[in-house]
Amino acid sequence: MNIKDTIESVRKQFRTDSDPFPDDNDKIDSLKIKYLGRKGLIANLFTQMNQVEAEDRPLFGKYLNQLKNEINSVFDSSQQKDSDSKTDQIDYSLPGLNFNIGYQHPLQTTLNEIKSIFQNLGFSVAYGPEVDDDFHNFSALNFPPEHPARDMQDTFFIEKDIVLRTHTSNVQVHLMKEKEPPLRYIVPGRVYRNESISFKSYCLFHQIEGLYVDKNVSFADHKGILEYFVKQMFGAKTKMRFRPSFFPFTEPSAEVDIWSEKRGQWLEILGSGMVDPEVFKSVDIDPDVWHGYAFGLGIERICMLKYDIDDIRLLYQGDLRFLEQF
């Protein structure tokens, strides 16, 4: 019998043995051993290689390998079927997956608190663009092109006249242009400054802008509102002061400090003032009829004071060890 016929007979034999394919593990094992075992039929055929003429060996090897692969693939596909059928089975007694409990970010908590204080006073919430033009971010707010106040903020420029807003005050301009007074809004949002990152400054932070425009508005109203806010936010006994300052878009301007007993010093929490008539003029509101006040407070600063956080970067790192404490 030549070698090729022997291979064919083994193939036929395997086909008979494996059809139908046994469904019992022991039978599968013994079938596997019969053909693919160390002393199985395939191994036996390989030992006959030396009897083949040298020039026929490659051909013989090829046929033999084809057979071996065929048999292997039959076993493989049966195993595949086997494992497929296993995953279909669900163990209903397994415990469910645990989900971590989420925490509100301290900045969000602070923002919500500030918002609710002003909403109770009748302020609505408005939003505005974070990428804005020079007019809304600077010019309309009485920063002329060469004004030294522009040096106070280091700005990210997108294009020559397009900037990442350096304060939420740009929304003041949008509101006054788009709506008819009286206006009573707070504007929370993210602002950007091109500053080096340290424990006290970051390249972005959040502000809440307040704008009140009406016919009979005085600095006394302005002081009253901010005093109410400070007492609500930091407690009724908080010592606070209005300190004269300067912003191009308010006149007169004041900054508000609260006294920190722990540090033994005044800490600035917000900037404010009466809306400068020049700002009203640039948005076509008659400054002889309408008056108003505006203020801007840094959410990070208030959050850090309230929760005694000493490094602003902690607020942006998303470190669970920090966030879980709130």
């Binding site: 300190r243 004269p244 300052s245 300067f246 191009p248």
Partner: protein, 290 residues
């Protein structure tokens, strides 16, 4: 802008403490920060180096004897400029300095040291830490350092907003203090002089609507030398380094009155002309032909 308390007192008499002055200024809208309050240095006294020799066990240290008027204290000092006969600021054992330094009795390389000779940095006056602060010779040994000399360096740092360029000088700040505390503002002493046309200098302004006026004058018989002590101390008290009498007097006028001046060497001006170019805003180019 750093304001020297001693300097602005030339314009308004006040006995208020540095802290009170800082508070008044802050509530006027000139936010005052980091007052240099030398009044904290209550333990420092005036001393004199009566003996100074090389430390037997160290190349860079000196073994001194410092008199406080009563006793002679052995002190080891590392400053390169310490020398016999100097009046110095002495921190005796038990004194505390800014930055939490407490002076204790010590042995340095085997030799006893009972006190410290202070540098300007250790006193909080400036960043100078290369050597010790050498004081004028007329001070009395054992006197309180602050009362007799240190008061000259009391100062406050003002964060001036862009709407207050008038406050960029001692005169300007004094004007505000005088108004706020209802005190009289002393005017600066000026004397008019008759100009003599002995020399010619040609001043031309390119765009006169931007710079309507430029004033110049010639001062003769000037010697470039070290500034007098009072001027050096004024400069030091606002964190400026004294360069020489010419540079310092120009700076002095700027910090006192807020008026910038430029001083040129007439002998080095070949064609004796000054040409002004004003470029957008306030950049002034002075073109001198030399």
């Amino acid at each position: 802008m750093r304001i020297s308390i001693d300097w602005f007192k030339e314009f308004v008499k006040t006995n208020d403490s540095t802290e009170d002055i800082a508070n008044t200024l802050t509530m006027l809208g000139l936010e005052a920060e980091n007052p240099v309050d030398i009044a904290q240095l209550e333990d420092i006294i005036i001393g004199e180096v009566v003996e100074c020799k090389k430390h037997p066990n160290a190349d860079r240290l000196k073994q001194c004897k410092v008199s406080d008027g009563k006793l002679e204290l052995p002190i080891i000092c590392g400053a390169p400029n310490v020398d016999k006969g100097q009046k110095i600021a002495l921190a005796p054992v038990g004194a505390s300095l800014p930055g939490g330094i407490n002076i204790k009795k010590a042995k340095i390389r085997g030799e006893e040291s009972r006190g410290m000779i202070c540098s300007e940095k250790e006193l909080g006056i400036s960043d100078e830490h290369e050597g010790i602060m050498v004081l004028p010779e007329d001070l009395t040994l054992g006197d309180d350092f602050c009362l007799s000399f240190g008061y000259k360096f009391l100062s406050v740092e003002l964060d001036i907003t862009p709407n207050r360029p008038d406050a960029f000088s001692h005169m300007g700040v004094a004007r505000d203090i005088a108004a706020a505390t209802k005190r009289k503002l002393k005017q600066t002493y000026t004397k008019s002089i008759d100009p003599k046309q002995e020399y010619n200098i040609d001043i031309s302004i390119e765009n006169e609507h931007e710079c309507p006026r430029y004033i110049g004058g010639i001062i003769k018989n000037v010697h470039v030398e070290k500034s007098p002590e009072w001027l050096v101390d004024y400069m030091k008290s606002i964190g400026q380094k004294s360069i020489n009498n010419i540079v310092d007097i120009s700076n002095f006028v700027l910090f006192e009155l807020g008026h910038p001046t430029h001083i040129f060497d007439y002998d080095k001006l070949k064609e004796k002309n000054i040409r002004l170019q004003i470029i957008v805003g306030c950049i002034i180019n002075l073109i001198l032909s030399n």
